[in-house]
Every structure is written in C-alpha cells, then in structure tokens.
Point group: C2
Chain length 406, copies 2
Amino acid sequence: MGLIVQKFGGTSVGSVERILNVAECVKQETERGNNVVVVVSAMGKSTDQLVKLAKEISPQPDKREMDMLLTTGEQVTIALLSMALNQKGLQAVSFTGWQAGIVTEPVHGNARITKIDTVAIESQISVGKVVIVAGFQGITENGEITTLGRGGSDTTAVALAAALKADKCDIYTDVTGVFTTDPRFIKKARKLLSVSYDEMLELANLGAGVLHPRAVEFAKNYNVRLEVRSSMEKIEGTVIEGEATMEQNLVVRGVAFEEEITKVTVLGLANSLTSLSTIFTTLAGNHINVDIIIQSTTEAETANLSFSIKTEDLMETLRVLEDNKESLNYEQLDAENKLAKVSIVGSGMISNPGVAARMFEVLAANNIQVKMVSTSEIKVSAVVEEKNMLKAVEVLHEAFGLSHSA
Amino acid sequence: MGLIVQKFGGTSVGSVERILNVAECVKQETERGNNVVVVVSAMGKSTDQLVKLAKEISPQPDKREMDMLLTTGEQVTIALLSMALNQKGLQAVSFTGWQAGIVTEPVHGNARITKIDTVAIESQISVGKVVIVAGFQGITENGEITTLGRGGSDTTAVALAAALKADKCDIYTDVTGVFTTDPRFIKKARKLLSVSYDEMLELANLGAGVLHPRAVEFAKNYNVRLEVRSSMEKIEGTVIEGEATMEQNLVVRGVAFEEEITKVTVLGLANSLTSLSTIFTTLAGNHINVDIIIQSTTEAETANLSFSIKTEDLMETLRVLEDNKESLNYEQLDAENKLAKVSIVGSGMISNPGVAARMFEVLAANNIQVKMVSTSEIKVSAVVEEKNMLKAVEVLHEAFGLSHSA
C-alpha cells in the first residue's frame, strides 16, 4: 500500500464535469490500494476573474489582500472535489493551505515554503481518508495567508510528496507528458518516457510550460519521483527522476522555444567594469528578468552591452535605464524586438562538446541567423528572429534525432 | 474616540462600485475620529452561485465541505474592501473568521459562537488600522471552518461589538431603518427612530427581514447598541436598545406580516394528552418549525389539533405525520394553505389588555376572518387568508395610529 500525491491544475478542474472526472481519477488510484493526497488549483479562469475584480478596485492592490483574495479560488475547488468524492462513496476531507500545515516565509505573492507540519494530513490518511489540499497557498508563522506565486500548486504537490515521503507525485495536466518539443507546433514531437530533473528544469525554464521549474527544483532536492500525465487520457506520462533511465543514448532530449524576446543594447558604456553590475542590479531592483547577456570587449575606451528580456518588460527596461542614464554613464540605447529563443537540452551534452557547433551548423545550413548565444552544461540557447523560430525548432528536432520515425 | 462596528450585507457589497461606496462610508466614520471594525457578507448572489455549483456535484453536499465552500464568499469581500480602503489612503487589514478569533461550537452549517479571542483585532486597532472581518464564519477549537447559518453576518457584527466593547454596532442595509410595517407594500409605513430589543425580536421573527433575530438576541444579552441604517442614503436609521426611548406613548410599534403559511389539522387524536408532545417532538426532530398551535378541548374521547407551518414545509410535515400515524394514533390529516400571518408588536401591550380585542374588532369590521390566533406579552398574531393580508396590515396600521400624517 503506497502513498500517492496527485496534482490537478486549473484546466483539469475547470468545470463541474471535470471535477467529477478528477474524482474518478482519484477513486481509481484508491482502488489500486493506494492512499491518496490530492492537490488542486483554482477552477479554470477563476483566478483571472478575481484579479480583474481587484484591478477594478485598485490599480496596485495590496499584496497581502491579493493573497487573501486569490486563495479563495483553491478553497472552492477543494470543497467541490471533496463533495464529488463523497458522492462517489469515498471518504474525503479538504484542507486549506493552513489547515494542511503548509508554512511559508512572511512574503506575500511569492512566498517560499519553509516547513510542512504533516500531522493533520497524516491523521486523516491513517483513518483511510483521501486528503484534498488547496495548492498555491500557505500561512506564515504569524497566521497570515500567503501564496506561492507562479507554479505554486506544482510546488505544493511536490513539497507535500517530500514531507509525506510519498512514493510518487503525479502531476495531472492537459498534455500527456513532456515532449521533445511543443507538439502543438511541431508535428513530429515525441513524448519522452523519462527525463532527468536537470533536463526538466531546463525544459521548464525554457517555456515548455508543463511543470514549474521551482517544483522540479524542489523534487530534485528531495528526490521526489514525479510523473507528468494527462487527466483526460489514461496513458503513461513522462517520469522525472534522478537519472533519465531510458533513451540514454540520445545527447539532445528536447528542443524548447520562447517567443517575444527583445534584445536591448547599451552603447558607449564609459566604465564597463563597474557599470555591468550596476545595470543588472538596477534592473533586478525593478523586477526585470534579464536572460542572455553579451558584452563586447573592445580596445576602445567605451564598451557595448547587449542582453535579452521578455518583450513585455521592454518599456519598463527602457524607463529604468533612461532614469539612471547619468549614473550608468552610457551614450545610447538600442532595442531589437520580434526575436525568439530556441534551445536544445540534454544531460548528455556535458560529455559532447560538439553539440553547440552542430546546432549552429544546422541553423546556418537553413539560413537562420543567430543573434545571441548562451550555453550551460546541459543546454545551448540561440536567439533568432521570431519568424525563423519554428523552422529552427523543426530542423534541430530532426537533426538531433528526436522526430518520430513516421 | 470611540469604537464602531459596521456591518454591510450582501447587497451593500454586491459590486465593485458598491464596495467603493462602503469604503467611503467607512472612511467617513474614521474621519469622525472613530476606530472602525467592519463586518461584511459575501457579494450579492455569490453564495447562491456557490450553492448551485455544490448541488451540481452532489444533491446533499457534505456540510463540512459546504462550509469550506461558502466561507470563500466573505473572504473575497474582505480582501476587496481592504484594497478599496487602502486605495482611499486608509490603513486596513482583512481577517477571515478564524483570523479574527471567532470560535464556534463544532457544528457545520449553523454553528453558534462560543468565544471571540480579540487579541489580533485589538492589536490592529491599536496601530490605527481599520479591521475588516468576514461575517458568517468561524472556526472550531480543532481548526475546522464553520458557518453561523442564516443571519450569520449580523451575528458576527453584534458578537464582535460585544467582545470589543464597541460603542455601537451599525447594521448597514438596503433600507433606511425599521419601519412600522413593510414600506414596499404599505405606503403609509413610517420609519421608527428607536425600538427595544424585544420589539425588534418580534418584528425580526415576523418577517421584517432587516435584522436576524439571533443577532438581536445577542445584542440584547450583551446590551449592544444597534442602529439599522442605509448604506446608500446618509440619513438617520433606527436605534435598537434596551428601552425604546422615543414614541413611548404608542402601544403598537409595528405591524409585521408573513405569507405562505399553511394550517395543518390533525383530526381524531386518540390520546391527546401524550400525543401533543409526541407530534411536536417528531416534527422538531425533522427540522420542521411549528408556529401557532391550537388544541380544541372537547368532551369527546378524541381531540383535534391545528398548527401553522411555512407552506414550503408542508410536504415534509405530511410525510412525517403519515409515517408515524400508528404511534401518533390519529384518524385524519387536513391542510389549508394560502394563509398569511399578520402581527402587531409593541412593548406597550403588556399593560394594555384591550389591544388584542381592538385588533380583532378592526379585522372583523373589514370582513377579514381570523383563522388562528397567538399572543405574547408584546405581540398579537392572527392567521388570515393570504388574499386579505395586505388589507389587514393596512387597516391595523391605520387603526393603531402608525400611519404618516400625510
């Protein structure tokens, strides 16, 4: 008799019909003889509706009150799912984040879990109940309601699986698993039967939006065995664990991509040595995430600096840089948008130095210009023009042997 | 500097615009130099929507899960109102029932408050914050979320006013106060400037749905000064306190009425002595509220018994009586519906024995037949045909000197 943590996202619980479907899914797991803890998100678009209400009241709602507001979303789902399970003859009990003992740091909107007091959940499991926990939320030591930010429900599920020493954490979603690339755009995309935590981290970070990187990180740190699978189709998903146990022979495991990238260039930086850190400290202080950074080292007295950001952050980035023009001491700003990032990911790359070279070769052969490059031990990213993105993904997917044999 | 508890019901917080209006109302109270604790209900029809969702999942949803579901409604309102106050430059903080320290008995759907731990609220008041509390909800000693049942938010407000020793508890609603009768039906209805707790209790119990009787009872027990007033119009409301301080000369203070009453008659009761208690114990055990009871005492061996119920309970009442026909030992059941109850209320009646007689005289003079009668120290009720109800209210309102001079 094992213990399984199941997580169902907003789409999977988006209607009464779907909640009943989830209840069936939970029931089947109990019929396999397992104890089940279920983590759910808010129903479909309900969080968006709450955010809209808040924005009508205040353009910048207080973060504490925003947490108070948004946590009602999951509370609705846990109650409804518990009713659905009761209706199917199962004994179920729902817990809000605080009832489940999920303690976070005292930060609103993006809190990290500091500990989980599993006593309440364990006592319900011990009497044979299915425990349903509201994802995305916790409580501070002082009794303030907090939320975990993006990917919060995934994180709740993985953290609970770790704290409860569950045998497995199943992440149910609207896709059937993790693919070699996005199957909505690339027909030859193939489902992976297993990936390693590190590969998943890179794939998640790169916009393969199946599972939040924070949750993967958590799973990696506590060695929680994850499976990403479909809540609609009863088929095998993708297992994420320490080492990808299958298909080890493949160097590249997936091709990720992300649109709406802008490259910002700061021209004529007077003192490149100090201004580099000053620029990024300033941007970070304004919550702008910078991705790839390239500094041109020249013999001249001034240097140029380029970095990539999400296009949605462009206005704010320009404002921050212009507001600080004097202290940063540069001549001019330049921005190029309509760019995209294409990345190849795979643990096998560590021991295969030729992979990046092969990537550029393939792109060049297809007349795709590379604007920026970044590499890590298990990933190579290239910024290309947005119009070339899907073509780049397709040819790389093919060249690294990821496509269906079909 | 005083402490005022304000309560706003579902209609008063039914939209973003109305929540902003409530915020303005709270702000004005703080500008008078008072500390304010605000109790709010769920927005407009949101509770109904949640109930509908639950019913789609289960015809008889688990009560614990129903509480879990419904308490999200007020949590949404407290967060939005707090945002609205922050937006207006006030320091505000919202509390769910459990955060506000509202402890209830371990009953779901209709829990009574057992104690209020005011530490959290008081510490926020002491730093000058407006505290917004979710009405209708509490928590058991074991950390289970409960609801207070009908009139719950009124009860929360009054209980908080008592626990915090507030100077006053203002119940904001969609009417401007307590009237001599329902102004929607009787044009000559007049607003009362003050009524006693006992009068309000009778008026509330009799369907003048401004304030829940439970809250009035609570206010009476803890001597909380209440005022019922409009959240839309800035005019004086009706004060409810120990003694009605104004208009003492009037014997009758108001005329209340209630539609959809059914009279049930049990014919041929064999053993009227024991069966009287058996019948009402059986009905109470099935949650059927019986109002007026009349037993005909005859010389015969069998007796007849009549009682009034809400028409909506008729089917259930007949079922219960028929299921227990053998033990109750009666011959036949009869039911007359399309009845209504009209009541005159006033503390002055205690010392005016002629009031009931005057009432019947007035009704008789208008050809209105009285089907059943019930009296208490401050109330006389008469059951009449529904078609005669408004006529009865009108002539009684006039006869007891309650009408506008207009």
